[in-house]
């Protein structure tokens, strides 16, 4: 299943947020979306997942999602969005219950996703007992439990400290190498974009427009072996964005 963004524009009341966005998310690819603060990245991701509707244009599903997928478009949020009153297992079970999956069937799935995210020992822990990195791993496990056709990630690592971020980035790469998931990955962090993205969509300042689409054709598993190449891509992106980032930073909010 591919996803196609078809001429998406959006305005909140009088503020134009997005302007005529067009691109395609191919199955098995990780697409990174980068852009300065407030350019509409999160808004765009909400459109892709059907949580909000753009004023113009539409997001199209091309082809049917795999039959076994319980929730084809699945989010991973920046703030983890775990229910604090449920244990790790309970949080995963939450998204299965409504599909009528309970008991041993659910247990099998939960055990499987916990193993894949190296969380097997933490099934009974409450979110408050976990570090940020662990919480995000739980959120990833929860997302895997519904067998998504496409993962929608909104700055999944930006609430983590940089060492944990480094560790989790490795985990995401490993996971992709094993499962070849499709993903749309929103981030501020150019390093993340060049480490994880097959293709990087660069948005301009608000109203967000596509400024450039950069393909990075080094296989994910080899990227750390080519630091210079990566650095080059990253510098290219940074040069594209530097001035806009600075301008976005200087803007007075609701002044």
């Amino acid at each position: 299943m591919d996803l196609k963004l078809d001429g998406i524009s959006h305005a909140y009341d009088a503020t134009r947020v997005l302007n005529n966005i067009d691109f395609t998310i191919k199955a098995g690819q990780i697409i990174c979306i980068i852009g300065p603060s407030g350019c509409g990245k999160s808004t765009l991701l909400r459109f892709i997942g059907g949580l909000e509707r753009p004023t113009e244009g539409q997001v199209l599903q091309i082809g049917d999602p795999p039959a076994e997928s319980l929730n084809p478009l699945t989010y991973i949020f920046q703030d983890f969005a775990l229910l604090p009153w449920r244990t790790v297992r309970g949080n995963i079970s939450l998204v299965l219950e409504d599909h009528g999956i309970r008991g041993t069937e659910a247990d099998t799935i939960i055990n499987d996703v916990l193993a894949r995210t190296k969380l097997s020992d933490f099934g009974a822990a409450l979110p408050k007992q976990l570090s940020g990195g662990m919480k995000q791993r739980v959120a990833i496990a929860r997302a895997l439990a519904v067998k998504p056709a496409c993962l929608l990630m909104d700055e999944p690592l930006s609430a983590l400290d940089s060492q944990t971020r480094e560790l989790l980035m490795d985990d995401l790469v490993d996971l992709w190498l094993k499962e070849k998931y499709t993903a749309c990955y929103v981030t501020h962090n150019l390093n993340e974009a060049v480490r994880l993205g097959h293709r990087v969509v660069v948005l301009s300042r608000r109203p967000g427009q596509v400024r450039d689409i950069v393909d990075i054709d080094i296989p994910l598993e080899d990227r750390l072996k080519h630091p210079a190449l990566l650095q080059e891509k990253q510098d290219y992106l940074w040069n594209l964005m530097r001035e806009e980032a600075r301008a976005a930073d200087l803007e007075l909010l609701d002044a």
Partner: protein, 277 residues
């Protein structure tokens, strides 16, 4: 640009079906509508009036809104309303200001000093749940049957919630800001004045909201003690005389008073807490 790692997830082989992604957001955001409330109230009053007119609601049970309004207009036209309001507002103002000033001082002490907190917090916890009407006889003995006991009732009723709001507010001031003040060698009193008090202001204002509505609620209790004028006294008399129309009118005045005070505090919040995100 062209070559990518080959995707391996299941791809629909047939002529790809194209359809928009399903919408599943929205909801869970009820808004205070400008329309519903007036319609609702007009409907309620019409039904009530009709019920009274057609005799479905006995006048013993509830007067028609028009009768209550008539009673209110009588009050206005006789010039009594001003007298009642004057008396009540004076008591409210004195009692509330007194209770608030004392509550601020005591609450601040509890918020700043371990020793004070140790004494004040359990004391407040023990005295807060005491109903003020239970203490009326005591107040009569202590303060007599003049204005003092009425003011004291209101003062006593507003003091405790203010103390709780103040020390709660002080507790909730971001410790990071206080540490910042210390790290710049700000004096103790500077920290209290420039960091703790403004930081506690949101809590103080919502405390004022509560204490003001408690003060209004206590008005009736306070005016049980030998008051000739006052909204509370008017309501009590109406209750004695089983004059339901006057009772409803009096209660409506109190309700309006409560709404006005709450509106005023809302304005104050808008002005003084402009800095809040």
């Amino acid at each position: 640009m062209p070559d990518l790692d080959t995707p391996t997830t299941v791809q629909t082989p047939s002529a790809a079906a194209v359809k928009p992604v399903p919408y599943r957001g929205g909801g869970f955001a009820p808004r205070p509508s400008r329309l519903v409330a007036p319609i609702f109230f007009v409907l309620l009053f019409s039904l009530w009036e009709a019920g009274s007119r057609f005799g479905w609601i006995s006048p013993i049970v509830l007067p028609a809104p028009s009768e209550a309004f008539q009673a209110f207009m009588d009050l206005v036209n006789s010039g009594q309303l001003v007298l009642h309001l004057e008396a009540s507002l004076m008591r409210l103002a004195l009692g509330w200001v007194g209770g608030t000033v004392l509550g601020l001082a005591v609450g601040l002490a509890a918020g700043l000093f371990t020793l004070a907190r140790g004494g004040i917090v359990p004391f407040v916890a023990a005295f807060f749940p005491i109903p003020k009407i239970a203490l009326l006889p005591v107040f009569i003995i202590w303060f007599g049957i003049g204005e003092e006991s009425k003011v004291a009732t209101i003062l006593f009723g507003t003091f405790f919630p203010t103390v709780i709001a103040v020390y709660g507010g002080v507790d909730n001031v971001d410790r990071g800001l206080i540490r910042m003040g210390q790290s710049f060698n700000l004096g103790w009193w500077s920290i209290v004045r420039k960091i703790i008090l403004p930081g506690a202001l949101p809590a103080l204002l919502s405390g004022f909201r509560i204490s003001a509505s408690i003060a209004i609620i206590l008005l009736v209790a306070a005016e049980m003690i030998g008051a000739e004028y006052g909204i509370g006294a008017y309501i009590l008399l109406a209750g004695n005389l089983m004059a339901m129309d006057q009772l409803v009118a009096g209660v409506a005045i109190l309700s309006l008073l409560g709404l006005s005070v709450s509106w005023l505090i809302g304005r104050a919040e808008k002005i003084f807490l402009r800095w809040r995100a």
